[in-house]
Symmetry: D2
């Protein structure tokens, strides 16, 4: 039997708190899970610093990746005898689902920002490079790895397959909303996925939703909205992320200034230099980051050691609402005052803005071009969701931004010059009192 058609002697299952069981029948999927590159995802948290706020959120990307695979597996099972569905795409869909986050590193968001990396680039690199994953995929058929990479990269010609993995209501999002809700313990994030799966229909170039399932989709959209504001953009989580980002900045700066680290930060060198090989990238998991942060607490550089100590022991920055557009003068004055007080504002006075866009239909040219959700009407026509749903229409395209200014409040207490303290406090807290 061809490798691509090989079934395991007995179906294997993973116990999964969200989907109850993840079922694996195909040898290819089983072999992909066993690769070192996929196992590495066990050492990378799905939600980065969120566990600082929600202590349950310690689940890994391994966890989520299996979940996305399982959802796609179930969708395909439902598609089996439907028109427009070509079962030859089955393995492609499942492999792409399983591997879609393969290129994530530890605390992706911060690392990508500071070191100008892109996890999607590394996902492609792992799939196409000299890796265990690539060897499994190429055994399926020459060029299969490229196909999987194309689906994940949204450049594959089969748009139906792409839409299963990347759209406004893809398996990725359905899994992470439920999973992140489960592990954080929040009561948002629940929607009737079983119903959504039942009303999904494959069409020529996308998955659509039977209009009778519209309310379940509304619920999903609302879950997303709530999860963004309640979990993903939580100000305390962002405080930890702000500190993390500043640690990376500082370490890079020290490296560039020929600072003499007590222990050579081998794992980071290529990141500092801006030239990261696949091998170096794969080695940097969360354990390694924590190892260095622990060491750096003992570094001579006060900023680096202070920031690391804060991150490891959760002594976070405090924050106030702050609108950088309307309060330019305030911000400039604060920077000055911090300097006067001997606190480096580059590291200790940080603006952070979050914005969501819970549902949006396609707008050419946008960075994240997710496919919109189409409803299949009783008469066979399609309608874009927000044209049919009041609720979705009302939140569609409304970008909401939340600005916060972060700083170490404990430092303020240590400022000797009372006048400086008063002026700083005045600016920071006057707004709140209104």
């Amino acid at each position: 039997m061809a490798y691509k058609d090989e079934k395991l002697h007995e179906e294997k299952v993973f116990k999964d708190p969200v989907h109850r069981y993840v079922h694996v029948r195909d040898r290819v999927i089983w072999d992909l899970i066993a690769t070192p590159e996929f196992q590495r995802l066990r050492r990378i948290k799905q939600l980065g610093t969120t566990n600082i706020t929600f202590h349950g959120a310690e689940h890994s990307r391994f966890n989520h990746s299996l979940g996305v695979y399982e959802i796609v597996r179930r969708i395909i099972e439902n598609f089996q005898d439907r028109p427009h569905w070509n079962n030859d795409q089955r393995l492609l869909c499942m492999a792409a689902a399983l591997l879609h986050d393969l290129g994530h590193g530890p605390f992706s968001h911060s690392f990508e920002k500071v070191f100008k990396l892109d996890h999607e680039y590394f996902t492609q690199a792992i799939i196409l490079g000299d890796t265990g994953v690539n060897r499994v995929l190429e055994r399926v058929s020459p060029g299969f790895a490229q196909e999987v990479a194309d689906v994940i990269g949204k450049t594959h010609t089969n748009k139906l397959v792409v839409s299963l993995i990347s759209s406004q209501i893809d398996a990725d999002r359905m899994d992470y909303l439920q999973r992140d809700a489960y592990f954080t313990g929040v009561s948002y994030g629940h929607f009737d996925m079983e119903r959504i799966l039942r009303v999904m229909r494959p069409m020529e170039d996308q998955v659509v939703i039977k209009s009778s399932g519209m309310h379940a989709v509304e619920d999903y959209i609302m879950s997303r909205y709530q999860m963004y504001w309640q979990v993903y953009f939580h100000p305390v989580t962002r405080s930890a992320e702000v500190i993390l980002t500043k640690i990376l900045h500082r370490a890079k700066h020290l490296y560039e200034s020929d600072y003499n680290f007590t222990l050579q930060p081998t794992h980071f060198l290529s990141f500092f230099a801006g030239d990261v090989s696949l091998d170096e990238y794969l080695k940097l998991d969360e354990s390694i980051v924590h190892y260095y942060f622990q060491l750096w607490q003992q570094e001579e550089d006060e900023i680096l050691s202070d920031l690391c100590e804060r991150f490891m022991n959760r002594r976070l920055f405090k924050y106030v609402e702050f609108n950088p557009n309307k309060q330019v003068a305030d911000l400039l004055r604060l920077i000055e005052l911090f300097k006067e007080a001997g606190i480096n504002p580059d590291y200790y006075l940080v603006m952070d803005s979050s914005s969501d866009l819970p549902y949006d239909f396609y707008r050419p040219g946008e960075e994240e071009e997710r496919l919109p959700i189409h409803l299949l009407m009783p008469n066979g026509s399609f309608k874009e969701l927000s044209r049919q749903s009041d609720i979705v229409e009302s939140i569609s395209g409304k970008k909401r931004t939340d600005h916060k200014l972060y700083f170490p409040k404990d430092f303020l207490y240590a400022i000797k010059d009372e006048k400086i303290v008063q002026e700083i406090t005045g600016i920071l807290y006057s707004k709140e009192m209104e």
Copy 2:
């Protein structure tokens, strides 16, 4: 106001998936949570290698410790106006609950076995030593730290307080059963804790259970039984633990043989030497262990690098049922055969035995002397649980042991001498075929 009576301006809550919310009102508790020693528990998994089997089980000891605190807080709330309850013990109970696992290190079980350590010793050391935790406790009142240590060490004179933290039905067990069930996703581990809390009654020297709540307690005992066999003693988890243990053994052996490590294993040296200071102990969290295991994959020593590679990439040992008592000759022969085949049996042929004792009443002289569960009968007398409950009686004191022999099956395929392979296979699998 005295520090011990200080309340937070506004109650703080942690979102907890198991108890919904963990409530903190006391400044002392809040300050204890903020110490570096307590925050360190975030970097130590509650269930060690279990996440290798149940991918959801990535929760930390931080998680569990908050949960135990919360249960004790609720119990005490119920005790408020009851006879035998002295509310002066409130803070003592809650602090002991919060800190009871403070001395756990990464993969405690294996580390303790290999390096002859005892996490309870370190719990005491952290509470009584020069630490943030100690400073908070001593601020409550001189000697308070010692009291907390005594409660955790079960030597405190107030037996009622001790029994809240350590008995057959203490807050510790009630939390971990539910928490581990939640994060693994298994359907065992559920019982009606709310009911148990309602029927708990403080007595002079222990907590007892009103007999009307007996069935809820039976359910709890059964949960425990099921969790032991389904989760805690899972053979795949034990395989990862076996490898971990062997890595530590090997590294220690190499160190003692003056092997030249590529990078000096600084964090491990005092462990190898058998003389671990508190400071060194606290530095060794799971990240550090993973860091070294990653490095050691590149070590020249083939056994060390092979075992580390297995552990990190989940290439586990396989296992067969094996009774070391009845199959002595088999085992000796296997050892010989492994040697002939050039496989070091010290590292690659490992017996592992698990045994549980889901409920037992006090037997003087036993290692783990947990207090038995007493029922409070309608007429005011007490009855030990197993004398009243058929189910509990039936499993009480029945020690069940499960023996497994672990080995790397992939190595067998590589043995050139066909006869050796056949004999090994014959011994290992003959039993299974019966």
Copy 3:
């Protein structure tokens, strides 16, 4: 001890699937639950004909009433030491919560419409009349029954107390959303009530919500919206209700036409006559209705027996979307055609319209004047919810109406004149095909 302060020797609990346990400590509450008028609520379904669509929805108003009581009990527990809260109102609040639905009869909606009744009138009548409930309340203190009636009737001078029972986010709504979701099994209807209870604050004349809890309230509003459209206005449920209404109309008509019922419909006579005494009202529970409907299946009057048979055996009317405003001519023509075909359109061609208004702030003069939800801002001011929440603003005040035309499809098959059938079908289904 005064009756109003009497506590039960030991707290009593009801096992409740939604709130886990309902706790009763006060003798007055315990005695109210034991009255025949309250026990009667066991024989009245919370959701009328909804169980025809969702077979789990068989829960009674008894069930819900206990739930509302429990929520109010918990709210008050949280209010204990807060400013603006006067604990003398405790019993009043709990009694009003428990009794707020006391006047509901079987299938209230239909009965009220056909017989021009008002369940709120009967709630007052039971509380103030010669009943067990009244006797318990008057034992608390003379005039207490009137106070309870006033709170339920929203005329009590203590607006804070009224707002606990009747506002946009009162205990009534919080209970029924969760309860109806639980028993139907739909995945909507969940929101974080525990959080909402924590952020409720008593003010002089209303309960307000701390603004930090806004997202939980949004979730509650969305639950309501979803429950309305997914459960309460479900077209199949409305079909059963349409038939029920027509049965009552027909029976009344027959009574007025001096039709000779096989068995005198004793329980219904005062309803037909439009002069229902309290005693007669209390006797008519769902069992009695079912009893008559079973008998009436054998009545000679074909319309009555057909409708009853349909109701009992779930042979419902089918429906099509139909806009009575735009399709006046169609409707008139259908009436004519039905008559020509010998089908009485008064009973067999029924327009039914549903409309919701998921959240609205106070508009003087509206029938249902529920108090709006106010947020308590960090600076101590209040803000009406929809001014702060995008989502709520977007659905606020948007009345959405759903029109359906109901008819027995099976009757159409029996029409002999093919031309009539075609014209009827043409009108009914042309719209759908567009």
Copy 4:
């Protein structure tokens, strides 16, 4: 297409709180659900008087019957390609599952006892008689109704099919444990059904369980045990049942004594006479019973009216532990004393005994001959569950009986002769004081 193979145009679903969705694809199943005899199950509570204790337990037999069907449907789906499974039995299994409780009447237990009825007899009668159900079944093929009746009656030659519906771990039990737990809200009754379904294997003459699933089965057995003692045998529920039984006895007695009922109890006459036709049986649902009980509250016979008033208004009998075997003299004396006090002991002094047998293997001659559970061992052999499982072994075959004596405590207060009261109280409560 043959009727038996007809599929619905689009799969229909019922929202079910326990199994999420019940799926119907076959026209035959759809038609069976639509019959009046099956719809009648909506008016019969699954748990009789249990809702008197657990107010959530208002779910109907309709509810449960759909659930059993759904479980069997899922089991068969898993069996599809397995040896020993003949898919021709599919419809037979599903129909038998759906209809297995068809003959239940209101409060079956009490009615069967008083009127010497047998619901299994009526199940057969409905399936084979002149009914809607029979017409649907006979349309499948002549003799199909008989086959379904045989499966339910356990006389069908295909033992594998029988064991799906009636064995120690059949679909019936798996549904009711979970469903009754859900609706009562107790925390027992949960087990991992999904896992059990996965490890079920069809064999020649029974369904067996792969031994790797033993722990899930243990959990199921324990659930059963707990549900029996916590829910099914709850002493308050039994109190309501005792009263109900006495009402039926009294009414029958009055009928036999030519008592003149205010309204002729038409629906009961054939029950009193001991000659119930199918038609009369089907007419007697719970509504009808409630109707008469309401009327009888006004009857002149004091015993009948008192008992009915108690039942309707939940003024139950109290109870004490009482061993009829050891306390014969006590019981006789109590009877005498009741008579002396003018209280009829035939109706007001009632012994009630419950006993469970949570798991038992086949014993010839026993009344309820359920097939034992067999494990399929790795080597292909079978082992009876209790020989492999300690827990099951420990509770296997242990019959436990709980005796209670019921009486109206309020009557005792009304006895004028103080000495009689004291003696009665002495006997009843002396035991409790020990």
